[in-house]
């Protein structure tokens, strides 16, 4: 990808609208290449028409988020799993 991108830190606000945990500190596994990396380190394109987060290793899409009036759409098909840090 040659377009300028942001990174997963920029997802903190939009995802904070949905989740009660900070998803940017979660570790995610890319469904395409298997790279395991903090959500904050994903390469993020957008914000219009939506936020698209790509794997820093293989550039495949791992997360997409669109905020529409009255709803948000979150597509996680590029993510195998998320490790969420939680207190005991």
């Amino acid at each position: 990808m040659t377009t300028e991108h942001l990174d997963g830190n920029a997802l903190a606000g939009p995802l904070g609208e949905i989740f009660a945990v900070d998803v940017t500190t979660c570790t995610g596994r890319c469904a395409s290449c298997g790279l395991t990396t903090p959500v904050a380190s994903l390469h993020v394109y957008g914000p219009e028409p939506g936020l698209v987060a790509r794997c820093p290793g293989c550039d495949e899409v791992v997360l997409r988020l669109v905020r529409a009036p009255g709803a948000a759409w979150l597509d996680l098909r590029g993510t195998v799993c998320l490790r969420v840090n939680l207190p005991d």
């Binding site: 830190n9 606000g13 900070d22 940017t24 957008g46």
Partner: protein, 242 residues
């Protein structure tokens, strides 16, 4: 567990000019829950016709009760920054939500050395870390490399000129250096990151913030020098700013 994010009303209570194009805005945000150094906020402006737009800005200082500070660079033709920097007056309000972002943060309890690498306005969250270190009385060695076009473009110049034990500040001028500077002007290079007692073997936590190209280049140089990927944290300012 924290609650989901909500927009809060923020009243502008103080303005400090940093450069010809940047200023620090202090807001009073009733009910502010506090934040960590490195975190940011989203700012939302809504026009009378209902059109609204938002931008993210890094917090420039540690939490001080319900007062928070942002340093905003005016982006010509931007939608939000010209309003914040050229239109807003003391007593005016915007909507603000946060703090957000728990990854690009420094915690005062950390005992690791710290290497801060700033490109232009990327200094803002790193300055918050420097101020948090000072406030906490931390003795952890901090080293700041601050890449900036020329001396006029420096944020927080007076504050960073005050000697502080354990804090090392180095400017990397990219266009014009003040008289007497030994380093040739230019972009950040391997030697800049390797010099000055910042070896990778000391295993510092590295925080890199700036425009995307600067961050990519700096992070690659740090990897080349042997810094472990998990010790390099990055935050990019993109083209969508403004």
């Amino acid at each position: 567990m924290r609650r989901r994010l909500e927009w809060r009303a923020a009243e502008l209570v103080k303005i400090v000019d940093e450069t010809g194009t940047a200023r620090t805005l202090r807001f009073r945000v009733p009910g502010w829950p506090g934040h960590l150094a490195g975190q940011h906020v989203d700012v939302r402006l809504t026009a009378e016709d209902g059109y609204s737009t938002r931008r993210s800005y890094s917090l420039a200082a540690p939490a001080d009760g319900d007062l928070v500070e942002l340093t905003v660079e005016t982006v010509p033709d931007g939608e939000v920054s010209p309003y914040l920097n050229e239109v807003m007056e003391i007593g005016d309000q915007v909507e603000l939500r946060g703090p957000v972002g728990g990854w690009f943060v420094w915690r005062p309890a950390s005992e690791s050395r710290v290497l801060l690498v700033a490109g232009g306005s990327g200094i803002v969250p790193l300055m918050s870390m420097i101020r948090a270190r000072r406030r906490a009385g931390s003795r952890v060695p901090f080293s700041l490399l601050y890449s900036v076009r020329d001396a006029e473009r420096r944020y927080y110049a007076d504050e960073l000129a005050v000697p502080e034990p354990g804090l090392d500040v180095t400017y990397l001028y990219t266009r014009q250096a003040p008289p007497g500077s030994s380093r040739a002007v230019g972009r950040i290079m391997l030697d800049d990151l390797a010099a000055g007692g910042r070896p990778a073997v000391a295993e510092p936590d590295c925080y890199v913030c700036g425009p995307t190209g600067f961050v990519e280049a700096s992070a690659d140089l740090l990897l080349t020098l042997g810094h472990a990927p998990e010790r390099i944290r990055t935050e990019r300012f993109g083209p969508t700013g403004g």
